[in-house]
Symmetry: C2
Subunit: 319 residues, 2 copies
């Protein structure tokens, strides 16, 4: 069973899939489904590769069956789309940035290629590359990996951001991303890292205390538009952020990492949005997490208890 249903109250599309109930929960390296080994309990047999992509066997998207259904008044549709897994290494205990700059650059190249390929499916409207690192953000397998979702709709938060970017361009004639880069370099109080190609900074308004955004300096919409030097610069900036996270509380800091690219199809695909990578770590301190509860779930209003400029100072001192 796999289908999309529209929430009548918010207008958001929600994916329903009971396959996900049976996702493996890893109990040790020996049982890791992403370590090389024999099928069906392992996804890959050999270890002679650097970065590997395959379809998620427990997808939240795609795999539609039993369709159509009648739902008296409510909107539903087949769960088209794709869910992929990106393995960063055949080694279970590898850390992405310890694998060296060449490997991180390879991951960026794979993200760019997969975006381009998935965008060819006429059902796909938006593509989200992300990584849920650590159990605190729901990762069920520790083997270093990320995911890619290709949605057959434009998700609500993506649509909201495209609206903001378009409104800003209409009223100022400027790209919001280029303007944020200029402001952060001018101000400096939230800047973590900058070179000729990319920068990392704590945003002016954070949903999570140690949220960090990475932007490529040149105005580029998609990963595939990056030059080789920019891809290297982006890879360096990502590793700068992860190194600071791991130094912050002396733990391998859990985070959600998200690559924001504009929609690839539909009316919002026209928006000239600036490529951006966001890191959202749930930790407020070494042993306390930001919990998403009444105000966030009910109203969409976040509350944060560390000022972004204070978070920046702590992250700067964290390497």
């Amino acid at each position: 069973m796999s289908e999309l249903r529209q929430d009548a109250w918010s207008g958001e599309w929600i994916s329903f899939s009971d396959l996900r109930q049976s996702r493996p929960v890893e109990t040790g390296a020996a049982e890791c489904p992403f370590c090389p080994g024999e099928p069906p309990s392992h996804e890959v047999q050999d270890a002679d590769w650097d970065v590997m992509v395959f379809e998620n066997r427990f997808p939240g998207l795609g795999g539609a069956v039993e369709w159509p259904k009648a739902y008296g008044g409510y909107a539903a549709r087949a769960a088209a789309g794709h869910a992929e897994v990106v393995l960063y290494s055949p080694r279970h205990d590898a850390e992405l940035c310890d694998l060296g700059p060449r490997r991180v650059r390879q991951v960026v190249d794979v993200w760019a290629d997969r975006t381009t390929c998935l965008a060819r499916d006429p059902e796909v409207q938006a593509i989200l590359i992300f990584e849920n690192r650590g159990r605190a953000v729901g990762a069920t397998v520790e083997h270093p990996h990320g995911q890619i979702y290709a949605y057959p709709f434009v998700p609500s938060r993506t649509a909201q951001e495209m609206g903001t970017v378009e409104a800003f361009a209409r009223s100022t004639g400027l790209c919001l991303g280029c303007e944020v880069i200029a402001r952060e370099i001018r101000d400096g109080s939230r800047l973590l890292f900058a070179d000729d190609h990319a920068l990392a900074h704590v945003p002016f308004a954070t949903r999570f205390p140690y949220e960090v955004h990475v932007l490529v300096r040149r105005h580029v919409r998609f990963l595939a538009d990056l030059t080789p030097a920019e891809r290297d610069g982006l890879a360096r900036a990502l590793c700068q952020v992860i190194a600071r996270y791991d130094g912050l509380f002396g733990i391998k800091l859990p985070y959600v990492m998200v690559v924001h690219q504009p929609p690839v199809r539909g009316p919002l695909a026209r928006v000239d949005a600036h490529l951006r990578v966001a890191f959202l770590p749930p930790h407020r301190s070494a042993n306390r997490l930001k919990v998403i509860a009444g105000s966030e779930l009910g109203a969409g209003a976040f509350l944060t208890d560390v000022l972004p400029e204070v978070a920046t100072q702590r992250l700067r001192g964290a390497t």
Copy 2:
């Protein structure tokens, strides 16, 4: 320090308050700040009351100081608004619905009164009544209580829902809430409870597997508009839901409960939205939680692994 900052990318207002870092974390009934006792470690001295409301000493809203500041290009403002705590009983180990129908009705009356009072503040645009029950949704004190936030802006999710309600009315001439009630009664497969005044049902598209909505049958926007009989009916429906939750996995099920009323000020205060109470429990099973991660935080796209009709059957059998 307490201020509101606008996220440049989403347009959302986020509240920053470092007071919240020092919120008490309860370690046992003897140290409960909501049990009657001596100030300053206790909020109330005597126990001769049924329901008690006071200002949150660790607010996420209100208590603005040190203002204004200049932030080169970004939007920020003083954190006006209010954050209140509603104690359901002086007894630490009380359960709201075990206190009897009269007490639950009193809580509904308090909610109605506080909405009316807080709406008089010309800075307030929207009011959210909610309860975070259990540590899984971040409750730091176990003593039965809810909260009320009065925001000096219309939160993003509230604005989104008002847009959906208005668009539905424009295209059909109907109230979305009245139509959802008609559909759920006609279909029946997601209905948990219904009497002459209120009903409880699993929505057609759930963000959380065991999400439940409670609606008052008559078209009413605010709690204060409810008749005495409707208030009793609403109280009964809330207790029906909580009883099923506590039977579902044999634990006192953590949940976020949210009362949706339309904005009280600003352009969206005109929207003729239908009063609704939503329960959002994070549990997927007795020992697994729905985690909000990449797709939800990055794109606003939720994935759910229990079909609403299946969740309804399980909840029906849970008393």
